[in-house]
């Protein structure tokens, strides 16, 4: 080998050495200077964001009593790779956490898939058990503070709604939620979810490779404290609600009471109801399924969703429209001989004095009288034909809040149903007249109203022509007022002056002589109207509409009892007792209370 070549080879090798170091330094420059990924990954390694769940807002009744409270409870979490490899006292852990060994083993097997990720083992560990857990010092397991709902009075199941962990479909629609969050699923809980929810906080911790906490990141500079949810003051009167639920027990139906001067819902009972505490905690799923398959459907909020035929209570609307349309004067007399006869069609009525005027017709709930009124409205010569008359009638009815959502703060409010021209055109192939749809006059046929709409009708009459949108929340913490729509008077298309004879009729029905005399309360000038809705599938539905006192009314109420018989049989006593209790704070008719409480209605429809 010549010296020249030797030199060349030495240079080549030096070149190789320099080249290798250049490649290494270039690569280092890339990952240290240009690729930002690694810095982020390093943070992800070292920082653990621990969610701090806020307590959910509480709900008070109108008198400051708790309807819903938050109770602390704990989620048990595990990080698989931190578990003591030498084993731990599984029996004790199971006992403290209240879970079975198989469940623990199953959850650990799941946690093993992602050994570094925290995984939920079980929820709803009460405070006492959490303290015992802390004593046990189980490595790899830790608890997370949560709050769950608690209902001191155990009332208002459907009204208040329930809270559950977010499910997949909800997450898809609401990306701001994360797995593990609790969310209101119905009733007040869902309507006021944004207010009740509060704001989650976060605690950033530095952890080592074993997940052991090494301290807070940057001395907590980026931590945030959870903000509790706002509290709500509900318009509900807890004691009235409790009585309402007691009285409705054993019956299927709904009762709604509203303060006419504000539109505040004082009570809203849907029967059968359930103990809201049953939908909290570990047994939630089982109880929920039980309720879901219960034939009487306790989870169905009848007060705002059910469509009931209003029956005779609808005669009030009929009379008001007649007066406004000018086809009826309060003094108009009509003849009724046990019913209304037109050709072969006959609408039966009960025995009462005849002929009779509007006030007495309301008081005694005469079918024939309102058949005349209804036909006069539809066949009004002002309009070209009966269908145009029907359209006008429908407009009036809708102005009373029927056939549409009232716009309350209850999210799952139902529409009810008011039939339109198209419906009858289809039903009778286009050929129908005022006689064909005559049963509308007494609130039958296709008409469907929610108990809330009926209570709203009671408010309209109590207020002589207007209503405030019924609502269930009076005050939200930190907000001066509610939505504007709850402070506006909504007038019907009937002039307030026409209400007086109807009110008079309702007053007479209770206080002078009529169908509702049992609702009389001395000194309170109760006004009421019974309804008995025929029902193709069994006994008549019983309903009662009332407000009191006659002047400056304090409460308007509607009670609807499915298959309750005559209006006066079941709905009236319930409504009357509720009014008495609300107005006087006592019940002086224990016999009536016993009568109602002992009344158990048999429901073949629901027992199939």
């Amino acid at each position: 080998m010549s010296d020249n070549e030797s030199f060349l080879r030495m240079r080549t090798l030096q070149g190789i050495v320099l080249f290798i170091f250049a490649v290494i330094i270039a690569r280092l420059a890339y990952i240290q200077l240009f690729d930002p990924r690694y810095a982020e990954l390093a943070e992800a390694n070292v920082l653990r964001h621990v969610v701090q769940y806020p307590p959910r807002g509480e709900v008070f009744d109108r008198n400051g009593e708790y309807l819903v409270q938050s109770r602390e409870c704990y989620d048990l979490m595990v990080i698989y790779r931190e578990i003591d490899k030498r084993g731990f006292d599984t029996a004790r852990l199971c006992e403290v956490a209240g879970i079975s060994r198989t469940k623990l083993e199953r959850e650990l097997a799941n946690a093993r898939v992602r050994p570094r990720a925290p995984r939920l083992v079980t929820s709803y560990i009460p405070k006492e058990d959490k303290l015992r857990f802390d004593e046990g010092n189980f490595r790899g397991f830790y608890t997370v503070y949560r709050t769950v709902r608690q209902y001191p009075r155990k009332i208002g199941g459907n009204l208040l709604g329930y809270v559950s962990e977010v499910n997949d479909t909800y997450l898809k629609r609401h990306p701001e939620y994360k797995v593990g969050d609790y969310v209101g699923m119905s009733g007040v809980e869902s309507a006021y979810e944004p207010e009740l929810r509060g704001t989650k906080g976060v605690k950033i911790q530095e952890i080592d490779t074993h997940g052991a906490i090494k301290g807070s990141y940057m001395n907590g500079r980026y931590d945030s404290v959870p903000e509790p949810g706002q509290y709500l003051v509900s318009t509900i009167d807890a004691r009235l609600q409790l009585l309402g639920e007691e009285l409705m027990r054993g019956k299927v139906g709904a009762a709604v009471a509203i303060e006419p001067s504000t539109g505040e819902i004082l009570m809203m009972v849907s029967s059968p109801t359930y103990d809201p505490d049953e939908l909290v905690g570990r047994e939630r799923g089982n109880n929920y399924m039980k309720m879901l398959y219960n034939k009487r459907k306790p989870l169905f909020n009848r007060a705002v969703k059910a469509k009931y035929p209003p029956g005779s209570t609808f005669k009030l609307v009929q009379g008001l429209i007649g007066l406004q349309e000018g086809v009826l004067r309060p003094s108009d007399l009509h003849v009724c001989h046990n019913g209304y006869q037109a050709g072969r069609l006959k609408m039966a009525c009960h025995a009462h004095a005849s002929p009779l005027d509007l006030r007495f017709a309301v008081a005694t709930s005469c079918n024939a009288y309102f058949c005349y009124v209804f036909r006069d409205i539809l066949d009004n010569p002002k309009y070209d034909n009966v269908k145009e008359g029907f359209d006008h009638w429908k407009e009036y009815v809708e102005s009373f809040g029927f056939g549409r959502k009232l716009g309350s703060d209850f999210l799952d409010e139902g529409n009810g149903y008011v039939p339109d021209r198209a419906y009858y055109d289809q039903q009778y192939r286009g050929s129908w007249n005022s006689l064909t749809v005559l049963s509308l006059s007494i609130g039958q046929d296709a008409l469907g109203c929610t108990p809330l709409q009926l209570a709203n009708l009671a408010c309209i009459i109590a207020n002589r022509g207007y209503y405030y949108i019924p609502h269930i929340v009076k005050e939200v913490e930190g907000q001066d007022s509610l939505d504007r729509r709850f402070y506006e008077r909504h007038y019907t298309k009937v002039d307030p002056r026409h209400f007086e004879p109807i009110v008079e009729g309702m007053w007479r029905g209770v206080n002078v002589g009529g169908t509702s005399t049992m609702a009389r309360l001395d000194g309170w000038d109760v006004c009421g109207k019974t309804g008995t809705a025929e029902n193709p599938r069994g006994r008549d539905h019983s309903t009662f509409l009332s407000f009191a006192p006659k002047d400056n009314p304090k409460i308007a109420i509607s009670v609807y009892v499915e298959n309750g018989g005559f209006g006066a049989t079941s709905a009236l006593p319930i409504a009357s007792l509720l009014e008495e209790f609300y107005l006087t704070d006592t019940i002086r008719r224990p016999y009536l209370l016993d009568y109602v409480k002992n009344m158990q209605i048999h429901y073949p429809v629901y027992d199939k």
């Binding site: 290494i24 330094i25 690569r27 280092l28 390093a42 490779t209």
Partner: protein
Amino acid sequence: MTSNRHNGIFDGVDRGTVLLYVLIVLAGFVSIISASYDDSTAQLFSFSHFYMKQLIWIAVAWVTALVVLLLDERFYHMFAYPAYFAGLGLLVAALLFGREVNGAKAWFEFGSVRIQPVEFAKIATALALARVMSNYSFSINRPGDLFKVATVICVPLLIIILQNDTGSGIVLCSFLFVLYREGLNKWLCIPILLIGSLFIVSFLLSPMVLLLCLILVCTLSEAMMNGRWRSRIIFLAALLLASCLLCLIMALVSPGTLDLYHSLLIMTLAAVLFAAGYAYRSHLTNIFITLGLFVGSMIFLPTTDYIFNSILKQHQRDRILSFLGIISDPLGTDYNVNQAKIAIGSGGFAGKGFLQGTQIKYGFVPEKHTDFIFCTVGEEWGFLGTTFVLVLLCLLILRLMRMGERQEEPFGRIYCDCVASILLFHVLVNVGMTIGLMPVMGIPLPFMSYGGSSLIAFTMLLFIAIRLDASTRQFSINQFS
């Protein structure tokens, strides 16, 4: 330099090299402090810390360096072979009686001190190689001499592989660097590198493709050495044609007994015999070397699958597969490399500061004070720190090569180059694996990784080179003064 007249032990010692050495050791010590410092242990100078132990090892290493410098340079020349055989004996002893650590049966344990004989075997092999190659009659391109060299390198290599410490074994392959420097035909070096890389990917290719690659590489490198392109191309074409013909004929005579691969194999064996005869007649001895390489690879090739599946441990297989991008598993096999890259990458330009590296401190980087010590440098001192350390190492290697060039005896030159090549290989593989350039092999970063036997062995390795160099310079200094 004026005081060097009295033949003191520091006479002629290359102070630049020693300075580089000291700097690198100190940088390593600082990194070990970072990697093993624990807030929760209050006592700074407790001997439970790795860095306190390392301090002792550094002291021992420096004493060793002094001893190495004290010995006469002829001593190393004389004892090269005994040292080599002692090294082999130690390796075999470790294989038989050693202790298994991380799957490699390559350790002796004396109380709390563990020694890896392979570190010292490297020194012995380097000395023996220098001794063999510095013989007067030695000529690297003569097949007999080349065979001697191959034996010196391959015997310890095989034992180390048997110990299941493949990473350390492959270090010996870096001596190719020295062989090239000493005049090994570059058309032998390149095919060796190519075949080496073929082995790494061999399990990806079919035997047929592998065989074709081997034939092509060997024939072409031979053609580059000897010229005569036309005859080589005819040789290849004839080989291909003959095997196709054989395959066809056999398909006609007895279908299914011989496929194309086996026909090619048979024809290749015939061709090897033919080529040997040709080489003998035309006195082209280098063909024998190529043929030896070819046959060696042919024998070795079918065993690579076996090696890959049986000798390599699951974790080593996974590392190779994940390095080649065939499997990806950030939490499993790739975890170490990913965490290493994250630690280095998050250091940025100037780093997080001394003792501030979160990835290191909180244990995300595995083996943070031994094999992955470079991550500590990267995270706490950033790009500046890593470049600083790499520049020191690069200067040390270049300096060693320059020391080699100025030796008068080939023994010294070859030994210096051996040291440079070992260091280069360690740096390339160790740093390369932390930044994803190399598959993970458990070999330490010279002078920096925690560990007594590694530090002492590297110190001895380096200071023998310095001692050899010093005697040359002593001589020249004495001559000119």
